[in-house]
């Protein structure tokens, strides 16, 4: 992990709000993306993509 400038907003703090907060609009008029469950999956994927750079202690696949 690179050292993040202290004054810059940490990405995790931002994602807590942008991916878990905000008004969720579903329905035929939106593309079916703004979906809470999907976002949760994306976050997991993100965590594993970050961990791919550092070996993960909770990865059980070889």
């Amino acid at each position: 992990m690179t050292v993040v400038e202290r004054r810059e907003i940490a990405l995790v703090d931002l994602l807590d709000r942008l991916l878990a907060g905000g008004v969720v609009i579903k329905g035929d008029i939106t593309l079916r993306i703004a979906d809470v469950d999907l976002v949760r999956i994306d976050l997991n994927a993100l965590i594993s993509s970050v961990n791919a750079k550092v070996p993960s202690p909770f990865e059980d696949s070889p």
Partner: protein, 259 residues
Amino acid sequence: MTGLRYVYAVCRPFGTPLQAQLTGVGGDPPRLMPHHDLVAVVSHVPEGEFGEEPLRANLEDLDWLTAVARAHQGVIDALTTVTTPLPLRLGTVFRDDSGVRTMIEAREESFTRTLDRLEGRVEWGVKVYVESEREPETPAEPAAKPASGRDYLRRRRMATKSQDDLWQRAETFATQLHESLSGSAEDSRLHAPQNPALSGAAGRNVLNAAYLVPRAGSEEFVEKVETTKDGIPGIRVELTGPWAAYSFAGEETAEKEGS
């Protein structure tokens, strides 16, 4: 260029124009789309990047997500200086302008209600960490070697006990802090503790909370947080904000009706 419509936020109409140099998501400057008594803040984004399939894939690309999240935040921040925006979830994309208008019409009443509730409020984030790998401090006997095996084991037990005590204290501390801060806030939300792999922060995150506070009460709220910072060794408190009220934009709130 047509493309899709990325919507950042819905606001009440405001007089001040947005900063001219503001670049939105995908480099497209945000435009204001007034409809009825509301304004949607919109960028035109390419279908090849923000269409359903590519968007799904892009959301798992950390660099892409970072750029979009920062651009989204930049627009919300700019809006915060001129009005109280109601932020939408990242990645809310419509096929065209008429889709955005339909959405506003369908939710007009709920938007208005939420905008009223958030007017003049900001969000503060408070996190508590336990620094778990902390060495127990024994300043009275620096670098003294254990005299015997029994002495060594006794020290090990004390170190373990001190770690357990720290967890216990951290839990109590976080609970009390949350109660106390909730008392100074209109509403609160608990986010999931942050994964250290993503945050890169030292220690374990035991409280990750957001508080809805009137602008006028913010100074007092921040002071309250600051005074807790030097509380207990091994426990760290972090404050972020002020944010637009992202965590309080949903319809369901902790407000108790009729009580």
